[in-house]
């Protein structure tokens, strides 16, 4: 019965241990073993962004590939293990055919294809060679070999002559390139030319792999010509050269899509793809509300962290956001004509990300709020902890609902505390989740439930508060918040969860983040320029990908 509470307590020791390690690490970056070489399956957004940058935004890439499996907190980690089924490849092929058809149509071909054929009714070897060489390099994220160029050009010529249409040939090879293995899988391979003199087991990413890793990390798109050139010239391997490229990327407008993609993943916003509310309970909550709620938070994050370059922790207390016509009534404010910046008044209960509809509605039932789901999400998404699942055979008699003895959610969830099998973990989730009871399951503000006033007091790891504004402040000052961001961001950039042995690296990045006043752009730069980011472990031939143990639960139960 007490097993679960023991599981929760075990983490406290681990937390102390990491603090001690953290204290020991100096300003120098700790040594790392590096990530294993692997293939990452391209995501829908990466595919769409890449093609939109390459062929222009008027090429429609209206596809939705199956999502990755969330692994160690991130969907992006799932890209490193996901396989491609026959039916998925069929989907990739349809997408490729759709894109190729648009690229060669008369409306686009003139400015997307870098040359004109001498005669459009037959093959043109020179123009096909130019197209294949240039486009192939950007799609496969490396220069094609002479053999590959020859193959694609021969195919383009043969099709053009058979169908008496130069552009049909181009379209067909473009389609083939779009489903080639090195388009769909992002390759992270070691540099065969380089050996670490001190540690023969350590390798580094080859230059093209590094270009891709940087680009998907910061832009969520394939590297452009400039980054590939830096890889080809060796510039990316010099300290100064890599810094130049990374700074260029951080200043690019493409950074916004990169940052959005990361937070969409970290905050679990894929939930919105299928979120629905009971319209008889929350008539104001539509599919558009869900889409706008997600957009609102992403806009808030980008504005705060990129446009204004502010402290990450302040996202948990900020009153600045953006409002849409669909969201305004839910926030009980006057409707705006489109998306507009909005600042909640100082005495508003809407302060920080946790009080936005995205968090409140995604972590609630279709017809009811849930302090437990919200508390669990806060722990797992924002603090990188893992809350164990409920015991399998527990009796729910105590919290049978509806139950007139329990007019408020607090009364209901307090019943858990009477059962030791439940109490251990509910003590982790509920004291924070109950503060969010000021908002119903659709995210609307309220002060009473079933005619009874709502008590929103609680505490987070020993910091007491009386309402949701206090919870936001407690989150802002919780050391787990920046540490979790660092953990997720590094894992996102390198494609796999940070193994426990690499904790000193996490502490190092967290210290740097603190010294840089918790500015996201500085953290992105630190990670992108670190040795760890290029480090690679030698290929272990028969070794399947290591599965990382779940993050430790670091919640302090003894407060």
């Amino acid at each position: 019965m007490a097993r679960h509470s023991r599981t929760c307590r075990a983490g406290v020791t681990a937390l102390l241990a990491t603090f001690v390690l953290g204290a020991c690490s100096g300003a120098k970056e700790p040594e790392t073993t590096g990530s294993a070489p692997h293939l990452r399956l391209i995501t829908t957004e990466q595919y769409a962004n890449t093609l939109s940058y390459l062929f222009g935004p008027s090429i429609s890439v209206d596809v939705k590939f199956p999502p990755m499996q969330r692994t160690a907190g991130l969907l992006s980690n799932g890209a490193g293990i996901a396989g491609v089924t026959a039916s998925q490849l069929e989907q990739f092929q349809r997408a490729a055919a759709g894109v190729a058809l648009q690229v060669v149509d008369p409306a686009h071909r003139d400015y997307v294809i870098p040359c004109d054929p001498v005669d459009a009714s037959k093959s043109d070897n020179a123009c096909a060679t130019k197209f294949v060489t240039e486009t192939g390099r950007l799609l496969q994220r490396r220069a094609l070999t002479d053999e590959e160029i020859k193959f694609y050009v021969e195919q383009a010529d043969a099709v053009a002559d058979r169908l008496k249409d130069f552009y049909a040939g181009i379209g067909m090879v473009l389609e083939a390139m779009l489903i080639s293995p090195e388009m769909l899988f992002i390759v992270e391979a070691p540099d065969p030319e380089w050996k670490d003199p001190e540690n023969p087991k350590r390798q580094r990413l080859d230059a093209y792999s590094l270009a891709s890793r940087l680009s998907f990390f910061l832009w969520n798109a394939a590297p452009d010509d400039e980054i590939l050139q830096a890889a080809e010239s060796g510039e990316l391997y010099t300290k100064k050269g890599r810094a130049r490229v990374v700074d260029m990327m951080l200043e690019s407008p493409r950074l916004e899509k990169g940052v959005r993609a990361f937070f969409d993943d970290m905050f679990g916003f894929d939930e919105f793809d299928s979120l629905s509310k009971d319209s008889t309970v929350y008539p104001f909550f539509s599919g558009q509300t869900a889409a706008d709620a997600r957009e609102q938070t992403l806009r808030t994050v980008v504005d705060h962290l990129i446009t204004k370059n502010l402290d990450y922790r302040d996202l948990f207390t900020t009153r600045s956001t953006f409002m849409s016509p669909t969201l305004a009534p839910l926030y009980q404010i006057a409707t705006t004509p489109g998306w507009e910046p909005y600042e909640f008044p100082a005495d508003s209960p809407r302060q920080g990300l946790l009080t936005q509809v995205s968090f409140l509605a995604a972590h609630a039932h279709p017809g009811r709020s849930s302090p437990t789901l919200r508390g669990k999400a806060l722990r797992e998404l924002m603090l990188c902890q893992v809350v164990p699942p409920p015991p399998t055979n527990v009796s729910f008699d105590l919290i049978d609902n509806p139950n007139e003895n329990y007019p408020t959610q607090r009364d209901r969830v307090n019943a858990h505390l009477e059962n030791p099998a439940c109490a251990g973990c509910h003590k982790i989730t509920d004291p924070t989740g109950l503060a969010l009871e000021s908002f119903d399951g659709g995210g609307r503000y309220r002060v009473a439930e079933n005619g009874h006033p709502i008590d929103t007091s609680g505490d987070l790891d020993g910091t007491a508060f009386s309402d949701v504004v206090g919870l936001g402040k407690a989150m802002r000052d919780n050391p787990g918040v920046p540490r979790c961001l660092v953990n997720r961001l590094y894992s996102y950039g390198t494609g796999s969860a940070l193994p426990p042995a690499e904790r000193p690296l996490l502490e190092y990045f967290t210290e740097r983040f603190e010294k840089e006043d918790y500015k996201l752009k500085d953290l992105l730069r630190t990670i992108a320029l670190s040795d760890a980011f290029t480090a690679m472990a030698a290929v272990e031939d028969a070794a399947p990908q290591e599965t990382t143990p779940a993050d430790q639960v670091t919640a302090n139960l003894d407060h």
Partner: protein, 448 residues
């Protein structure tokens, strides 16, 4: 009455697909069949098909498990919806999903054992390929789609089909997308009067073949696991190549195949039960016609996911939460709303089975040449039990199965139902499953 005469076969079938529940005897076009109706006119035998169906959250045993076993079993109140299809299904109760020494991963362990014969060790690592994939490797290689996987839940994450331990078969979740994939521009109508191979397809196929022939230095630089993923990718490419090849050949006519009317918009995507059941009906009709047109011989349909989030409008909790938090009504002796959800699930199951009986094939119906295996995640969801797990089969698998039986499995593993299905589909393995779920015996009482 004059109008009736003008109803062509095609129009009758189209009407059925749109309207759902009209049963019409179709004029049999004998030219499609051999003399005894067991094979197509071309001489090819009528293909065998295998499918799965899934619902979440088990049952209420006291009002679900029939009192009688064998043929002519009774239908307790949670099963009343099965009345029209009782003769086509077998119900197997009192099975166990043995978790061995591993944890009971709620709403996961149960169905994973039913579909793989193996207890999962971990929520993140799937034990291996699911039964539909095993069968598809046996009977699904010659059709346009090796299998079709569909969910009525509107959530692309809800699937019960795994290609291997790390690759899920993502489901079609939108009826519109399902329609387009099967019956959109890439569909070749086997009964069309004319056939002109598209020269672009020919070019496409030859370019694709070239891509596959290209040797890649990539393989050498990868670890074993990534090489396996790349192999899987190349297997997919070969299947794509075969699809193109098929589009270059005139298909044999198939009497039962009627391209459904074009679908232009998706229905509502909410989690309400009525919306779910509606999508389930639409997608069932499309799936059944895809099978009748021999576009696939293996199929998976999920009515609800394991911890089902189906909503009863006006009731504050979704199905899963209801099973845990709804009080047991002292008069009824069960949870009324939780049972309401299971009754709705059984209505959709009945619809699914019945849909196969509406397409004539040979001298019977499509259902005669199909075997469907239906699973759930728990026996009693409130307590996450893995005993008394109910399962169904439907269809006669080409006359090799008797239907209309209720079988008391007397505590046998759920894998025994799966193993019976595998043998019926011609998968010749001496046993199925591991540890306590390993079995080499079949339910002989339903074999012909």
């Amino acid at each position: 009455m004059g109008m009736l005469k003008d109803l062509s076969r095609r129009r009758v079938l189209r009407g059925m697909l749109n309207g759902g529940a009209v049963t019409v005897a179709l004029p049999l076009l004998n030219c499609f069949l051999n003399d005894n109706g067991t094979a197509l006119a071309s001489g090819a035998p009528i293909p065998q098909r295998f499918g799965t169906w899934a619902w979440g959250l088990g049952c209420t045993r006291s009002i679900f498990v029939p009192k009688k076993t064998g043929p002519d079993f009774d239908l307790p109140e949670e099963l009343v919806a099965l009345a029209p299809v009782k003769k086509y299904v077998n119900l197997i109760t009192n099975t166990n999903a043995y978790r061995d020494n591993y944890q009971n991963f709620c709403h996961y362990t149960g169905w994973v054992i039913a579909r793989t014969g193996m207890a999962p060790k971990d929520r993140n690592v799937f034990p291996g390929e699911t039964i539909d994939v095993t069968v598809a490797n046996q009977i699904g290689r010659s059709t346009r789609f090796k299998s079709l996987t569909v969910t009525a839940t509107s959530d692309v994450r809800d699937t019960y089909s795994y290609e291997n331990s790390t690759t899920r078969n993502a489901p079609e979740w939108s009826p519109l997308q399902l329609y387009t994939r099967i019956f959109g521009p890439d569909f070749t109508d086997p009964n069309a009067d004319t056939f002109t191979p598209d020269p672009r397809i020919m070019s496409r196929k030859s370019v694709l073949s070239g891509v596959m022939d290209q040797t890649t230095s990539l393989q050498r630089r990868l670890g074993a696991e990534d090489r396996r993923r790349l192999d899987q990718y190349f297997t997919g490419l070969r299947h794509l190549e075969k699809q193109f090849q098929q589009r270059l050949e005139k298909p044999e006519p198939i009497e039962a195949c009627v391209r459904p009317n074009e679908l232009k918009v998706d229905p509502a995507m909410g989690k309400e039960e009525a919306a779910t059941a509606f999508r389930h009906r639409m997608m069932t009709d499309l799936m059944v016609m895809a099978i009748a047109c021999d576009q696939t011989r293996v199929f998976n349909m999920a009515y609800s996911q394991a911890a089902a989030s189906t909503i009863k409008p006006g009731y504050e909790k979704p199905h899963h939460t209801t099973t845990h938090e709804e009080p047991i009504d002292p008069k009824l002796g069960y949870q009324p709303t939780a049972s309401w959800f299971i009754r709705r699930s059984m209505e959709s199951w009945a619809y699914f089975v019945e849909a196969f009986t509406k397409v004539k094939e040979g001298d019977g119906t499509l259902l005669d040449n199909v075997l469907i295996y239906a699973t759930t995640d728990h026996g009693f969801a409130r307590l996450h039990t893995l005993d008394h797990v109910p399962l169904f089969t439907a269809g006669r698998a080409g006359g090799r199965v008797k239907t209309g039986y209720h079988i008391d499995a007397k505590g046998a593993s759920v894998s025994r139902v799966g193993y019976t299905a595998l043998r019926l589909m011609g998968v010749d393995v001496p046993s199925w499953g591991t540890n306590s779920n390993m079995t080499d015996s079949v339910f002989g009482e339903i074999l012909v």
